[in-house]
């Protein structure tokens, strides 16, 4: 009997009901999967949780009273979150509960011992930069460093010469042999001094059981997505503590002792000579694409800046706020984004759903009157808007011959256009948000009333006026018109005859 059958799975599918049940379960599973974006396979979830990928719990296996967690995995011992079962440990040592977490009993690490830049509640380092780890070794740094006097490089000796973040700086298992009286030279047949309790596999390998033989849980410490040279930093007398905090005070060292960007910028963010050879450019440390832009997309998610970095936190409403950062330092955006991404919204041809909600085609007139979002950030009203409005026959200019006389778009003339100007007159809306007017009207529509009576030389005395002389100029116009006239007289001549005495006041 297969294991699946033993667990009662409907396998084989001979019975019609079994097929229907299977199909139903697939649909339910798909729906659940769709509605639970964070769901993962159980093994991944355990690794992520133990590594703080979610809310920042550090990667500490927690003591437990039974060894059941590793029982379901068949021959391979699981990377258990539990301590070794007391029954599996040699009798001499008692419960092996130290070195399973940074602090005894899983107490929180004091802030002064954490990595520089780490703050309370920061959730640990980014899981995208430092992918979740799977720590299956019980290890007490405090004991080794402070009590036994082993320096950091006594075990992590490759930190002296490593020039790549992909280098594994974990010590080989043989490093433990001399003191623990073990022999890891042949990993297919590891041995230990039987009388020495610290030589037992379970002393270090979390979740080990005697029946596991020579197999222990695999440890996984993925390389960070960074460019980093331990050698270069060491050569500048930057000690381990300057980036990793007070590991010598802790028992198990977890992801939480890995550097924070805020800590890196303590040096890399310096100005002038103080910074030395530590530039602040993002790709100094972060991986870059061939184009030189920062690589931001990884299996664990997308790298986005924190709020405190240039005020550029990509929160849920970032699209409404990004202008302030882009205007002050557009090169920051270019660190990660290609200009085509800007063009896809600001000069796009496919309506971006993140900007415009659904059925925007129906609701856009109200949004345009509120200018929310600001139409001219992406659209030129006298071409993009006007062209479509003319095709739809809602403009005064354009192909009105075919669509004239079908009803009035605006409120009645006595309210909207006729003098005297009442509370519902169009002037107030025009003063407020002329972009909305210009999305349908051309200058001729406005000049018909607002041009002076002499425009075109056809004043009242010479055969009829085009303009009504309704003055549209704002308060304070007189003080500004001289400059405007000098720089460009064309708009003046739309409404004023070149010999108009009122132009003289601006000359």
């Amino acid at each position: 009997m297969s294991r699946a059958r033993a667990h009662g799975s409907p396998r084989g599918g001979n019975h019609p009901a079994a097929g229907a049940l299977l199909a139903l379960s697939m649909v339910v599973a798909a729906l659940l999967g769709l509605h639970a974006p964070g769901a993962r396979a159980a093994g991944e979830a355990s690794a992520a949780a133990s590594s703080g990928a979610g809310l920042g719990a550090p990667a500490e296996p927690t003591p437990a009273s039974s060894g059941e967690a590793s029982a379901a995995s068949g021959n391979a011992p699981a990377a258990s979150d539990t301590a070794p079962a007391a029954s599996g440990a040699p009798a001499a040592a008692g419960p092996l509960v130290r070195g399973l977490a940074p602090m005894p009993g899983g107490a929180p690490v004091p802030e002064r011992w954490r990595s520089p830049g780490a703050v309370e509640g920061d959730g640990g380092p980014s899981p995208v930069v430092f992918p979740p780890q799977r720590l299956t070794i019980r290890f007490n740094h405090r004991l080794h460093v402070r009590s036994l006097g082993v320096p950091c490089t006594g075990c992590h000796e490759r930190a002296r010469t490593s020039r790549s973040a992909r280098d594994s700086l974990l010590p080989p298992a043989t490093r433990c042999d001399a003191c623990h009286l073990t022999d890891h030279r042949d990993l297919s047949e590891v041995t230990g001094e039987p009388e020495h309790h610290a030589a037992a596999c379970v002393f270090c390998h979390v979740g080990y059981r005697p029946e596991d033989g020579n197999r222990v849980a695999r440890m996984s410490v993925p390389p960070p997505r960074l460019r980093f040279s331990h050698a270069a930093h060491g050569a500048r007398n930057i000690g381990c503590r300057q980036c990793h905090g007070e590991v010598q005070e802790l028992e198990l060292a977890t992801r939480d002792q890995l550097p924070r960007m805020r800590g890196c910028l303590a040096c890399h963010g310096q100005q002038g000579p103080a910074r030395g050879d530590a530039p602040a450019a993002c790709v100094t440390c972060h991986l870059a694409e061939a184009s030189g832009r920062m690589k931001t997309s990884f299996a664990e998610g997308r790298l986005v800046p924190p709020a405190w970095l240039h005020g550029a936190g990509h929160g849920p409403d970032w699209i409404e706020r990004h202008r302030a950062v882009a205007a002050a330092d557009g090169t920051l955006c270019a660190t990660c984004h290609q200009e085509r991404e800007c063009a896809e919204c600001h000069d796009g041809r496919v309506r971006p759903r993140r900007v415009h909600p659904n059925d925007f085609l129906s609701s856009h007139p109200v949004a345009a009157r509120q200018n929310d979002p600001r139409c001219t950030s992406c659209h030129r009203t006298q071409s993009f808007c006007l062209g479509c409005h003319q095709r739809a026959g809602v403009t005064l200019s354009g192909p009105d011959a075919a669509f004239a006389g079908r009803g009035r778009f605006h409120p009645p003339p006595r309210e909207w256009t006729d003098p005297p100007r009442g509370a519902g007159h169009h002037a107030w809306e025009a003063q407020r948000n002329l972009d909305a007017c210009v999305s349908c009207h051309t200058e001729r529509d406005c000049a018909g009333c607002h041009a002076s009576r002499e425009v075109g030389g056809r004043g009242a005395g010479s055969g009829g006026a085009f303009g009504q002389g309704s003055n549209p100029h704002p308060v304070g116009f007189r003080s500004r018109c001289r400059v405007a006239l000098r720089k460009n007289a064309r708009p003046c001549l739309v409404c004023h005859d070149p010999r108009d005495a009122r132009l003289e006041a601006c000359r």
């Binding site: 963010g269 005020g311 936190g313 205007a327 759903r353 059925d359 509120q370 095709r391 009442g422 720089k487």
Partner: protein, 505 residues
């Protein structure tokens, strides 16, 4: 008599030439292509005409990096970028593009314009790392906005604190080959009038001359906690255009020509961040043609905890237009928005942001008493009074994001004298099977009422279903189905299909 080469010999020679003569490449090349097809139809509010959109947009991008063969981020680098776009709408009727059918003719309408979004050669890190340049069609973003020109830009960055850039060329405007009018100042209806009589659409101004433009900027460089940029830009128009859109006494048309200011603006933006406290920033634009500040905004954020940020913002916007446009003189006060905002990043996956405030407009004159006030006022110094008109604006955005997808919700509530708009969307994006397939689902409900046109009030329900498939990391095909329901349009459908391809490292 020479012996003819056999096909095998030609193939061998070609292979030899292709392998032995190929120089060692020191550059990286990437080509990407994207095709979007959009099919939908909408009707005029009056019922006709029916506008059919059968849009096909194709983009082709090319990026060449390390043209000088030195892939070292600390050395000088040379690269090239280009992006070409075909924007077709094959639902147009030919009558809409022909001046011979004035009852349907829409000036400036093109069926499938082709434009070069950008194409430039860029060098960085020259002269000991301080100099850089760009030559070609390029885009700029600064306090003055997003803009494009054809020309050259030179940038000098001091080792610390300051960078200077200067540029000159021609603004990208429509009616020239491979251009779009997206970047030209607004307020002027322009294009080629080749077949148009002057009396037909006189407000459609002729455009055929290059528009000289130049500018400069001074910004921070290498400053980590403070960034800022001051910018100045001037653009000229040189086209000969009609002045008044009406014939003169003799039935002729007066024209204006020569170089004149299309836009001349100066502005600045600054952003300062203290990681333990918060951020402050602001931006201002002064229009030198109008002699007035036309845009300014300022904001402050406080990081109360690592998860919670609160802030306030002020934003003023006055619509401005091209120097050729009369509309600058109709745009008086603009709008000022006062807003408070809070963002709570509950975890790396979930965050929510809410904002609310007022959008205010100060009228030039009291709308309720304007007529009598003007009648009583001294014409030389009219005392028209003023009044405040306000609308309430608010929004709510929430997002739960994982490596496999996201769930996002957005809510909008605007209410006031101009009517209201309220509603929200829920968007679900999901990648499955290691990203090979992706799915999109959106459902939204919006209700709106325009106080000026209460007959166009409606409540709309819409959903979108999308699906995509990837072939490796370099190709993706996706399709979306959109269905909107409201009393104004009944049922409206839209189909969007996208094909993306990429070749390169």
């Amino acid at each position: 008599m020479a012996r003819a080469c056999s096909p095998r010999t030609i193939l061998a020679l070609a292979l030899f030439a292709g392998t032995a003569a190929a120089p060692a490449r020191g550059y990286e090349a990437r080509v990407d292509a994207r095709t979007d097809v959009q099919l939908y139809t909408f009707a005029s509010p009056y019922g006709d005409p029916i506008v059919r959109r059968r849009r096909v947009t194709q983009q082709l991008g090319l990026a060449l990096d390390d043209l000088d063969g030195v892939p070292d981020p600390r050395a000088a680098s040379l690269g090239f970028r280009a992006r070409l776009r075909l924007d077709g709408d094959f639902g147009q009727e030919s009558a809409e593009r022909s001046p011979r059918t004035p009852e349907r003719f829409v000036p400036g309408l093109e069926e499938a314009p082709l434009d070069l979004i950008y194409a430039y050669l860029e060098g960085e890190g020259y002269l000991g790392g301080v100099a850089g340049f760009r030559v070609g069609r390029q885009q700029l973003f600064d306090a003055l906005g997003w803009w494009s020109f054809d020309g050259a830009l030179l940038r000098l960055s001091a080792p610390a604190y300051v960078a200077v850039e200067a540029y000159a060329g021609y603004e990208q405007r429509s009616s020239l080959p491979l251009t779009t009018d997206r970047y030209a100042a607004d307020g002027v209806w322009r294009g080629r009038r080749d077949e148009l009589e002057t009396a037909l659409h006189p407000a459609f101004l002729d455009q055929r001359e290059l528009a000289p433009a130049w500018g400069a900027a001074l910004g921070t460089s290498g400053m980590h906690w403070v960034q800022g940029k001051l910018a100045y830009r001037r653009v000229q128009t040189r086209d000969v255009v009609v002045s008044a859109p009406f014939p003169d006494a003799g039935g002729g048309w007066q024209t204006v020509g020569g170089a004149r200011v299309a836009s001349e603006r100066a502005g600045g933006a600054v952003q300062a961040t203290l990681p333990e406290l918060g951020a402050v920033g602001g931006r201002a634009v002064y229009d030198l043609y109008l002699s007035r500040a036309t845009e300014y905004d300022a904001g402050v954020d406080a990081y109360l905890t690592p998860e919670l940020t609160v802030g306030a913002r002020l934003d003023h916007y006055l619509p401005t237009f091209d120097g050729d446009s009369i509309f600058n003189w109709f745009s008086h006060q603009g709008m000022t928005t006062y807003e408070a905002r809070a963002e709570w990043a509950a975890s790396r996956r979930f965050a929510i942001a809410a904002s609310g405030g007022l959008r205010a407009f100060t009228t030039e004159g009291d709308p309720e008493r304007y007529a009598s006030a003007v009648a009583d006022a001294d014409p030389a110094s009219p005392s028209r009074g003023e009044a405040q008109r306000t609308d309430a604006v608010s929004s709510l955005d929430a997002r739960h994001r994982t490596a496999e997808g996201s769930v996002a919700a957005r809510g909008v509530l605007e209410a006031g004298e101009r009517g209201h708009r309220r509603g929200g969307d829920v968007t679900l994006r999901r990648r499955v099977l290691g990203g090979r397939f992706d799915a999109l689902g959106i459902v939204s409900l919006y209700d709106w009422r325009d106080a000026l046109r209460p007959d166009r009030a409606a409540t709309s329900l819409q959903y979108v279903l999308g699906w995509g498939v990837r072939a490796g990391r370099r190709a993706r095909f996706g399709a979306e189905w959109e269905h909107a329901m409201n009393r104004l349009v009944g049922q409206r459908y839209r189909v969007v299909a996208t094909l993306e391809l990429e070749v390169g490292p």
